[in-house]
Subunit: 223 residues, 2 copies
Amino acid sequence: MIQSEHVSRILSLFPSMADLSEEDWYQDSLQVIQMEPQNIVEKTQFLKFVVMLLDGNLRTYKVSASGREITLYRVNSGECCPFMSSSILGSSEYEVNACVETAALMLIVPAEVFQDWMDRYPVFRQFIYTESARRLLHLASLLDNINFKTIRGRISEFLIQFAEQNGNSDTLYITHQSLSIELGTAREVISRTLKVLEHKEVIELSRGKITIRDRSALVRFIE
Amino acid sequence: MIQSEHVSRILSLFPSMADLSEEDWYQDSLQVIQMEPQNIVEKTQFLKFVVMLLDGNLRTYKVSASGREITLYRVNSGECCPFMSSSILGSSEYEVNACVETAALMLIVPAEVFQDWMDRYPVFRQFIYTESARRLLHLASLLDNINFKTIRGRISEFLIQFAEQNGNSDTLYITHQSLSIELGTAREVISRTLKVLEHKEVIELSRGKITIRDRSALVRFIE
DNA sequence: AGGTTTTATGTGACTTAATCACTGAATTTA
DNA sequence: TAAATTCAGTGATTAAGTCACATAAAACCT
């Protein structure tokens, strides 16, 4: 059961849910939960429930046998996580992990309730469908990047995007380790590539911090 | 307008469409078309229509700036192509190509009609939803393979799967070029890796043909 | 405050994969 | 049967990933 104050918040983030009835909102199985950073969203929750983000964000990722990670995408507030769908399929081989990145508040919708809403509310259905289409295209694009672009290009692209997300500041607080997890490569590869960019005076490095010195040069490296 | 003989064929391939009414089937905008191998499914068709395969198959792929290709997935008979969804989004940056691999017969459903069916038929909706969830997981898994596995492992996996698809024969008719497009790498890389496998007496090579000599060794290479 | 631990980064040596620029061999086609 | 096309092999070079460390800054004691 969720609190009424949450409903208005959910409605402003998810306008596609405007049609839901009182009974839909106040059924026992719905819940809003808070999770702290680094917490792993358990597979059971992840698969038997649909997660809709009200605040903070989740990061979905894959881990290799050797422990290397790659980020697939993030679920931000106002978005939902499409991988729940795998519960429908039951294919355990294709596993995807998720963890909380910034403290997250989320609406947890049991699969059956979700199914019911999908059946009854066209606008909601359309929203969900568009969301998963977007993820599908995003993954195809990520695949393309991994397979065809140089790490220098991918690092440059990430740095530009990261800067944009942080008020276009030239000072980025991020470690080489996080960058490697982001791009799915080894930390040493990131360190070395960044060093080359520093020698070219495109960026400046210090512990936990990257300063962009020549943004246009960085943009040109994207390819 | 489609022929009545096609309807029964479609129904047996797509049982989720059993609920469709006569008017749904016999509206003007529906069509069944035949396409020959190598034909590229035009972007306009690809985006404004939903393609449902009745026979043959499509291959979806990405092309790099340098011309290298990678196969994303195949759409076989009884399946539909979920990328049409991008029409909803209108993001042109994420482009995916598709071409006919084996002579294909397909039902072409205009986006509006598709939308209407999605609204009116829960079972059809469920089918489509499951399909795109499946593709999403498949892409995530492909991404994982590309990023974390060796080409030897990926080639081995492909050869085993290819054999299974061809009545478990040990004689595979495929060129190094097609293998490279399949796995998204360079032809030379495939040739060299196959040579190594030949020296290990796991396979035997000749023009346009690969013979599996030690299948269990091949399986062990998959990782 | 000084020492210990943890986290972040640097680097050399080596392996794997991709790119470039070819070669020759097998097969089709004119 | 000669020419064109397709398929495969190979050396040299560059890019990326792996392994095994070293060094340095920051955090954590008590």
